[in-house]
């Protein structure tokens, strides 16, 4: 583990490229501190990352900023000019925002998403747009119309998804930090598979305005970062109630940078349903080691039941597709995006446009969702799934009576090989079975690296009650320091 905040002072290097390269191994918070102190030029940071992003060979990006002058930034702004990579599905004015889909190929919105605008106002200019599964539907970033993203730990493997581009970019060191969205694990799972930190905030903490919707009642934006401090810093700049999003409420207190080093008195609950069958042995071993570290820091660890967690994935795969079937109805070729050629009437314009514009997984979920909402089936599917969702929420409410946090492996496996699960959607869906219950409950969850299995990173998930972000970040920070995971590619990047 490299001690934080005490990185060895470097001699001033006459070779600019080398000092630039050193700057790129800093965490975003460290880089911001140096910019603020006048020790690092934000423009230099911008050019260094921009060149790396432009040279990316992992397929992490769908767009990278042009190579002209660095954007003017205020070095005293909270984020001090440290540029940010943004998942493709965030609308960015004049910049392609395609949600990984052919149906939105080349679409440049006339406005910018609230969360991205907030980051820019806080001093983080837009560096690049990152690749993702089409409309955030997937767990491997293989469902992108613009090709897959590769895992920087092993280019034969997937980075997870759907925010795989953001995770790979941060892990590889071609972006200092990134934002993604999490509907049923889409921030936490790729963070786990790429060995970085990913935080899904409480539903409503961050505005959804300008996020190209997948499932409205679940979608939530959050940071993917090199460490927990970066996650806190970036989250703090994103959160807040937004008059353009009725479901946004912000957080009750400003996000504080974490400082806690002990877990004395912290009660951790380990749900039996999410830590048993289906978890790869190597993942479980890393998880168990992390629990030992937590105990050493003073935490109590106890198993408990989340009785309805076993049904979470089934409920999720009715609710999310149902909402998606409606959210994606607007892609019809009438106003923007792809339109099929040579159609003879309106009906065929709809069917041909959507048939040619959407990929297989998106079509599968639109059909699932349409069916779940159909007259005569609504009660049995969508209605029932909502009841399960309520039960899961109640399960967590009961858990908070006994525990401060619930901990699980983030993903049941480490990064799998490209193509390994594309033929079997169910096995792909199972990859999110530890992450989905938190999404249904609307509660925050963070994934931090707990170690390696088969030479690949394993994610450790900590989930807390709604709006407990500050406590969650503190706990994650204490654990992160004690675990001392230091194998991530961004540290070595040259």
């Amino acid at each position: 583990m490299r001690p934080r905040g005490s990185s060895a002072p470097r001699d001033t290097n006459p070779d600019q490229r080398s000092s630039r390269s050193d700057a790129l191994t800093l965490t975003a918070a460290e880089a911001a501190a140096r910019v603020r102190a006048g020790e690092l030029d934000a423009a230099e940071l911008w050019h260094g990352y921009r060149e790396r992003a432009a040279a990316d060979a992992l397929g992490a990006y769908t767009w990278v900023a042009g190579g002209g002058d660095a954007p003017a930034v205020d070095r005293n702004a909270p984020l001090a000019g440290v540029p940010v990579a943004v998942k493709d599905l965030f609308c960015t004015e004049g910049v392609p925002s395609q949600s990984g889909s052919k149906i939105l190929e080349g679409y440049r919105p006339p406005y910018t998403a609230t969360s991205v605008a907030r980051l820019s106002d806080a001093g983080a200019p837009l560096l690049a747009k990152t690749n993702q599964d089409e409309f955030a539907m997937g767990s491997s970033t293989e469902n992108s119309a613009f090709g897959p993203t590769l895992n920087p730990w092993d280019p034969a493997r997937v980075p997870g998804g759907s925010s795989g581009g953001s995770a790979a970019a941060v892990a590889a060191g071609s972006a200092p930090w990134a934002i993604g969205t999490d509907t049923g694990g889409s921030i936490r799972q790729p963070a786990a598979l790429c060995g970085i930190v990913g935080l899904k905030p409480t539903y409503g903490a961050v505005s959804r305005y300008g996020m190209i919707a997948f499932a409205s009642s679940l979608d939530q934006a959050g940071p993917l970062t090199r460490d927990v401090t970066d996650a806190a810093l970036l989250l703090g700049a994103m959160v807040g109630q937004d008059p353009c999003d009725s479901t946004s409420v912000g957080l009750p207190a400003p996000v504080a940078l974490p400082t806690r080093t002990s877990l004395e008195g912290v009660r951790l609950g380990v749900p039996e349903e999410l830590t048993g069958e289906g978890i790869a042995p190597g993942v479980l071993a890393s998880f168990t080691e992390a629990l030992d570290v937590a105990r050493e820091l003073g935490a109590s660890v106890e198993s408990f039941r989340l009785p309805h967690a076993a049904h979470a994935l089934s409920a999720y795969y009715l609710i999310a597709p149902a909402e998606a079937s409606s959210n994606l109805a607007r892609y019809d070729g009438v106003r923007y995006g792809y339109r099929a050629d040579g159609v003879r009437d309106l009906f065929h314009m709809y069917t041909e446009t959507r048939d040619q514009g959407f990929g297989a997984e998106v079509k599968r979920r639109i059909m699932l969702g349409t069916y779940a909402l159909s007259s005569g089936y609504y009660d049995a599917y969508y209605g029932r799934a909502q009841k399960v969702r309520t039960r899961i929420r109640e399960d967590f409410d009961a858990a908070w009576e006994r525990f401060d946090f619930v901990v699980t492996p983030t993903s049941p496996t480490v990064a799998f090989e490209l193509g390994a699960k594309t033929a079997d959607p169910l096995s792909m869906y199972l990859n999110d079975f530890c992450a989905v219950p938190m999404s249904l409950a609307g509660i925050p969850g963070i994934s931090i690296p707990s170690g390696l299995s088969e030479g690949l990173p394993v994610g450790f998930q900590i989930a807390g009650p709604a709006f407990s972000e500050n406590a969650l970040l503190d706990a994650a920070y204490a654990l992160e320091r004690a675990i001392g995971f230091d194998a991530a590619p961004w540290r070595q990047a040259a």
């Binding site: 609308c91 919105p109 109805a329 007259s375 969508y382």
Partner: protein, 486 residues
Amino acid sequence: MTTQPTASAGTGNWEPVIGLEIHVQLATRTKMFCGCELSFGEPPNTRTCPVCLGLPGTLPVVNARAVHFGLMMGLALECEIAPRSIFHRKNYFYPDQAKNYQISQYDIPLCGAGRLGDVRLHRIHLEEDAAKLVHIGASGRIHGADASIVDYNRGGTPLCEIVTEPDIQSAEHARDWLNLLRVTLRQLGVSDVNMEEGSLRCDANVSVRRAGAGELGTKTELKNMNSFRFLERGVNAEIERQIALLESGETVVQETLHFDPAGGRLSSLRSKEEAHDYRYFPEPDLVPLVPTEAMLAAAREALPELPAVRAARYERDWSLPEDPARLLAYEPQWGDYFEAVATATQARADGRAAANWVEQLRARIGAEAEPAASRVTPPALARLVGLVVARQVNAGAARQVLDRLVAEGGEPADIVEREGLGSLDGGDELAGVVAAAIAANADAAEKVRAGNDKAMGPIVGFVMRETRGRADGGDVGRLIREQLGL
């Protein structure tokens, strides 16, 4: 209110049962779910934004003013206000909806059961209007069109849907009740309620049953009745069509019918069997609508006196018959003017006379005019009413005074004086004119003497001409009889 409880045809008595579904565009400044101003004939697609164009990533936000108007309507129409209502998505693919779903209310509307006059209301809910489609080509419909163009200016305009119970019993009843609803909503200030311009739209559900039968017959839905006249004609045509079907032993098919005002014909739009499955589900982008006490209080405070209440007050306080009471109460500017005149007249009992002369003014300057801005001040009209009631000016002469007032303004007494329009008192001067009239109409006088009272006409006419209407009809009749020795 005229009602026609049964319509007779052929072998039996049939009873129409009618319910109305009314869409009202709300007169808010901005759209239902975005900040675009409402459009009144602006160039196409100039009142749009990312939200009402359904661009990716956009979210709706409920217009607080529309909710305020909805609550005002709910309170005015004696509805139960839902403590918590929600929005749903109604999914269907059509270019008039930018998102391919309409945000509407479904199983929990803003307002539940209510009442206006003799018709119960089922519900009132909020939703967004569709965009306007224009089909280029010979057909004028989307099928067979060369091209269709969309104007999203109207898309997202706030709409209130008002659904009645099937309490309406005839086309005339439907027309009269819809007019009561129209003037009530206009008085609330929540809508322009103009049928021709589409800010008030009415569909009718029509069925017929044997008079006295308990069960309802199969209903059809009539659309496109964009005037009160078309509503009445359309419903009557459908009642007749259904009765004819049933009389000949056939059945009514549940369907949607389009009324063609040109030919007065009804054509089938689509059969309900192939109705859309709208896949309604709760709109996840919006939070439930929970009216606070402050919102309800604000809506209550904003309620003006409603036309029906006002009409009842005119009947009670001013002894007006039903028809003039409604005429004045349903048009607030005339109601206000009437009250000013009636208050300024000497006696409360003169209310009917005041109403009569306000109606006379209305006939002269037009129902749409603003009487308070005319040259006829309420005190002046009140004094004219006083002269008539005191029989110092008779009706014919008073009409001439009113003409002068409308043209020039001024004081009724001065005009009477200047124009010599004061009543002849039935004394010697009038007796002389009557004598001359009898002399000039000897044939008529002979017939009257022989007992034919109707023959008095030419003699009376002569007197009125000679006196320029100043004579009192009763006095003239009495004098004719006297002089003819009857």
